[in-house]
Symmetry: C2
Subunit: 385 residues, 2 copies
Amino acid sequence: MAHPVYLDNAATTPLDPRVLEAMLPHLGGRRGNPSSLHALGASAREAVEEARGSVAALVGASAEEIVFTSGGTEADDLGVLGLARSAPAEKRHVVVSRVEHAAVREAARRLEAEGFEVTPIEVDEDGLVDPADLADALRPETALAAVVWANNEVGTIEPVRELARICAERDVPFHTDAVQAAGRVPLDVGEVPASTLALSAHKLYGPQGVGALYVRKGVPVEPISYGGGQEGGLRSGTHNVAGIVGFGVAARLAREELDERVAHESGLRDAILAGVARIPDVRLNGHPERRLSNNVHLTVEGVEAESLVLFLDALGYAIGSGSACSSGEHKASPVLLAMGRDEREAFSVVRVTVGKENTAAEVEDFLEAFSEAVARLRELSPLYN
Amino acid sequence: MAHPVYLDNAATTPLDPRVLEAMLPHLGGRRGNPSSLHALGASAREAVEEARGSVAALVGASAEEIVFTSGGTEADDLGVLGLARSAPAEKRHVVVSRVEHAAVREAARRLEAEGFEVTPIEVDEDGLVDPADLADALRPETALAAVVWANNEVGTIEPVRELARICAERDVPFHTDAVQAAGRVPLDVGEVPASTLALSAHKLYGPQGVGALYVRKGVPVEPISYGGGQEGGLRSGTHNVAGIVGFGVAARLAREELDERVAHESGLRDAILAGVARIPDVRLNGHPERRLSNNVHLTVEGVEAESLVLFLDALGYAIGSGSACSSGEHKASPVLLAMGRDEREAFSVVRVTVGKENTAAEVEDFLEAFSEAVARLRELSPLYN
């Protein structure tokens, strides 16, 4: 079989060849540990600092506000746990939306085990948080509020500007997971006064195994790793120099090419939406307008999502089933349940996410295959008539 | 200037070209998220599992006992915090040697903040732990003992077989940091009944940003990351597939080539030792026989270590000052202080660590440069006459 058509860019993106090219000098030949004094160490340090500047620029921050991590999950963990644990002892309450990525959701669960009270913020049927609900949930003892910038499953873009401003007015630290938003939505921590913001390189054509947490200047964050005290004490461990360099280039390209990528992706996305609208009993999940440029999340009635993913895989199309960011457990997505869907529906959803490398021809072929797959699986299904 | 002669292999090793070659297919072209259902996800999963087998083989473990992490620090943190936190509530005591890497030392400090009592195990003037001291320190309420396999600064190899067996007999979980030992000492968790053991890829010619924790089957370890539940729930976050694949190949080569690497390294090490023995007032630190094949750790009286490192750097030789694994803070090494050295001496130590790519000619040239540098700096020093 030829290379499959890759329509699972929300799970991981292919590495941009320009990113790989920048990484190679740090993978080949001699290389340094940025903590070493000598010239090789210094040159590794410089490469890390250049990347830090590029990642900072992607979110409108200063370089010293960027902490490199091993990925989006660690960035979310550091933001959520780090903000909450550094709050004064009497602040033992956190507010977390019902549509968070597992990293934020599970970090909040960990805080619960440490004695924090967690108030969930509900969402509407499109997965949208109402700022009034956040405002109502805040208390004098709230240590942290967290709402995802754009949801990783259904693609709904949250009103983070308003949410962050409500928190800022009430002096409540605000964490936002921007892993899926980065490279698809302009990010500006000047406009959106978040305290911390999580990023991941491999969702924007950078390498796997690298991420970053933006930490607003002056905001206290307690580290969650313990060791050599790298990254200003906030993240211990030898730097992954090649990975960080790759992230830097990916971040720069994401900023420079944002408009053309969004135009390209939303064109493909809308073509998919128009195509699937012709298939009966297929429904779009997430907000119809406030959604990521690359995301199509569908309920396909009468079809088991796993079967559909595997059927399409056999035809040469790689798509996602619900969230592909989890360990593959067979559990209904908490995000869909929060949007009011039932358990049964949660097993009939697929996520089709385009990227900058997809073409209109691929989408056209995909639509044909998708339509065929759905029809075939429905014929076999006792649940659909 | 040509490429410097790299004699700082304990800080980070150059990537083996065979490792890079294995990584490239996972960096170029399409790539998958191992958590995805489709064929690209499956192929990423298979690559990760093959690497897991190779890393397991390096330490004589089964594949399912290996947890991939973002590096040695995270592996140490997971071992130390994970073992201690999963102990029954009445076990709030930990025993940690005075010659641990910062990752173990700081993780133990974190446990102290959580209410654990920490008993340090002293070392002799060569940095060696006496098994009798460990036995004496254990109590019925001991949740964990940790002793490094081989120290990262002075290179002393600890009697881990005996230490681990004492702990096993008393049912005390035993963690060992084998980051520097791996690839230089045969590791066998059958012989050494450790509960957990930390590894890092970039210390054995693999990529930076990847490590692993061996977790003995049946030993409970509480996770320190929260999210998608990858790695059997022990380490959340999308896999760094290319990095893990590189680690796998590096581990396989380290096992296959162990004997020749040790013979090569110890030959170079002994040549350095013989050479520096001719310079007055230069003393070897660490155990004279029980030491890593690649490590020369020296006190150079009357010379400031940083000046010596920078002077040699200018001459084209990259060596380390004390421990290069830390954030570059100007603090006396706790390892040297534990060995009975005073603060002043701790600033006059350098670490010269050879690797498989160094040659006898490089070492010969280095000895000349080293001798010259020491003489010049001593001429300038008010501390030396």
